[in-house]
């Protein structure tokens, strides 16, 4: 497990670095010019999706399995 974690860290460091070397060739929006935008967006977006879905589930959507029976 620790090896996998290490690999993940190295991978993240590598792609963030590569982001500076290889920018978007045809950026349409300002954020595509930021080298690590996709990394930040991926991390924040993933957490946002999890928290949003879980909150929605907790307060509203989730019901017992026999709800429709």
């Amino acid at each position: 497990m620790n090896k996998l974690r290490l690999a993940l860290y190295i991978g993240i460091a590598a792609v963030c670095l590569l982001g500076f070397i290889f920018p978007y060739q045809h950026p349409h929006f300002w954020w595509q010019k930021i080298p690590v935008f996709d990394a930040v967006f991926g991390f924040a977006g993933c957490i946002a999706i999890i928290l949003f879905a879980k909150t929605l589930g907790h307060f509203w959507l989730t019901r017992d399995e026999d709800y429709y029976d």
């Binding site: 993940l8 978007y24 349409h28 946002a48």
Partner: protein, 596 residues
């Protein structure tokens, strides 16, 4: 002169003769041969409009063949072969018949050039596919099948209404771009988007697909939604509302998938999400966007079938369908091949570079960028994070790995699925990687010339950043994601499952009671009126007595106003009165007649 037949007929004829062939091997051989014949047929179909038949003063067109219809035609035939290979061990041949009627009718939809043919094929699709759910033979699949067919029949009625309006207004049954301003077009659009599973009309999909048979659901992932995408691309390209519906769809499916524990229901929510990219692309309407939508339909059909095959293999072997039952069972030791093949599908749907989702999904996103739609681009981007989170990380973790929950829940008989299942998965996985590494064959099929290069360095790096950081966030929240017992998530099917039932109860109980009370009141009233007319004099006398506070008269003991043998008027009086009435009525009638 065209010697070939419509590909739909190949499937229809095959489905009709399949059950009557002797021997299991013969049946299997024919089942595998039908898609091969259909593929050869497709290769020989020139572009153009043919197979036209006059019908009630209109012209039915069974073959409107151009690049757009060919993309869908090819992928439908390819996936029908892979799906039937996955299902070839099934001895219940009715399933194959239903599947081939379903495939044939969706090919009919794709090549139809008029609204009548389209509608007929549309309905056969619904009627044939519901059997793939009912063959599940559980109460849940029976109920889900009924809900599925009811939703599709409602959709069919709305479509029919739109078609009738369209034909009345324009006098033509041609199926081409509609003028979105007309009511007819709006009805037709609603009919189409029910099949495309666009929220809030999508709930039939995650409701029904997980209840189908293991092999039937693989068929279902390919045809209904994607034929709807085709008809949308054919007739509603560039309609603005589809852009937003599509973008919302992508995120809607992703959010629900986070809550889901049922393997195939999670994947079904990701069909909603992925079809969102196609609907959005159709709405954007530019050549690149339509190309993207078509390419994504092609790739999606391949990897989604592979994902359903993988999940289906686990269910087939273990008999368990929820991550809560599977996590911690260390299935990766017993089904490593299935895991590997599933992961190819998962990487494809997540748009990992070198897998086919990357060459098609990015085209839709790039089209949104090119048209300068920042909000849409970000929404589509966000949805692809959720896709990797649920399909690429959560599902495989919860199914093949996961922490044991204290109980030694080893699934002892678990092993790799039958060889035909593995073979079908292997071929599909090969196609996913092949088209991912070398997308030219797909790009050549697309309706417009492609000017898009997915493998630009910056593009690839950005995709890897997105995916790796999603994995990091998953790692942090892994326990939170896996926590919780199996549950149902409320969705728009609540309206017909709970509200519908509440309406039924309301009709049954208070409304019925109200109706009964009205009935007893009115029948009681008539009974009293009948009493009164039997003996008006007695009733009046009794009332008079009551008003004066006198005791009941001896003549009518206990208020009985018509004691036996106590008729105040002989029967002749009645006869006499009616004859007189008739006489005067006749007199008045005649007078009126002569005067006017």
């Amino acid at each position: 002169m065209i010697n070939i037949v419509p590909p739909a007929f190949i499937y229809f004829i095959g489905a009709c003769i399949l059950p009557f062939l002797p021997g299991r091997r013969m049946k299997q051989a024919l089942a595998l041969l039908i898609p091969v014949i259909a593929f050869i047929d497709l290769l020989h179909m020139p572009h153009g409009v043919y197979w036209t038949y006059p019908f009630l003063g209109y012209e039915l067109v069974l073959g409107r063949v151009d690049k757009l219809s060919m993309v869908f035609g090819y992928v439908f035939v390819i996936i029908s072969f892979l799906s039937i290979l996955y299902a070839i061990h099934i001895r219940e041949y009715g399933q194959h018949v239903a599947a081939y009627l379903y495939v044939g009718s969706s090919l009919g939809v794709v090549f139809s050039g008029d609204l009548f043919t389209l509608f007929i094929c549309w309905e056969i699709m619904a009627a044939a596919s519901v059997f793939l759910i009912w063959y599940g033979r559980t109460k849940a699949s029976l109920d889900a099948g009924f809900r599925y067919i009811l939703v599709h029949l409602v959709g069919g009625c709305i479509l029919m209404a739109g078609i009738v309006m369209q034909v009345v207004q324009t006098g033509s049954i041609g199926f081409s771009m509609f003028d979105f301003g007309t009511t007819a077009a709006k009805f037709i659009l609603v009919g189409f988007i029910i099949n495309a599973a666009v929220p809030p009309l999508h709930a039939w999909l995650p409701d029904a697909y997980p209840e189908g048979t293991i092999t039937g659901s693989v068929f279902m992932t390919a045809f209904t939604t994607k034929s709807a995408v085709y008809v949308l691309a054919r007739s509603f390209a560039g309609v603005e509302i589809l852009v937003w519906l599509g973008a919302v769809m992508t995120i809607y499916g992703v959010v629900y998938a986070v809550l889901e524990k049922d393997l195939r229901r999670l994947l079904a929510y990701h069909i909603v999400s992925q079809v969102g990219y196609m609907v959005c692309g159709v709405g954007l309407g530019s050549q690149m966007a339509i190309n993207g939508a078509s390419a994504h339909a092609f790739c999606h059909i391949l990897y989604k079938a592979l994902l359903f095959m993988g999940a289906g293999a686990v269910i087939h072997v273990t008999g368990k369908r929820k991550m809560t039952d599977l996590q911690g069972c260390n299935l990766y030791r017993k089904m490593p091949l299935t895991l590997a093949l599933y992961m190819i599908g998962a990487f494809s749907i997540s748009a990992v570079p070198l897998f086919n989702g990357f060459v098609s999904k990015t085209m839709v996103v790039a089209a949104a960028g090119k048209l300068d739609r920042p909000a849409i681009e970000l929404m589509l981007h966000l949805a692809s994070i959720g896709t990797f989170l649920s399909v690429g990380l959560k599902l495989p973790w919860g199914t093949w790995f996961g922490k044991p929950d204290g109980i030694a829940n080893e699934i002892s008989p678990a092993k790799e699925p039958p060889i035909n299942m593995l073979l079908a998965m292997g071929l599909t996985a090969f196609l996913c990687i092949f088209t991912g590494v070398y997308p030219k064959p797909i790009y050549d099929l697309l309706p417009y010339a492609v000017d898009f290069h997915p493998y630009e360095a910056g593009h690839v790096v950005a995709a890897l950043q997105l995916l790796l950081l999603t994995a990091a966030a998953f790692w942090i929240f892994i326990d939170k994601l896996m926590a919780g017992k199996p549950a149902v998530s409320l969705d728009t099917d609540w309206f017909y499952r709970r509200l519908g039932r509440a309406l039924f109860r309301f009709c049954n109980f208070p409304l019925q009671r109200f109706s009964n009370s009205i009935r007893s009141f009115t029948t009681g009233g008539t009974a009293r009126l009948a009493d009164f007319s039997r003996n008006p004099a007695a009733v009046l006398e009794l009332l008079w007595n009551k008003l004066q506070g006198k005791a009941m008269s001896d003549k009518y003991p206990a208020g009985r106003i018509h004691p036996a043998n106590n008729r105040p008027f002989p029967i002749g009086w009645g006869v006499c009165a009616s004859i007189l009435f008739l006489f005067f009525y006749g007199l008045v009638y005649l007078r009126l007649f002569t005067f006017f």
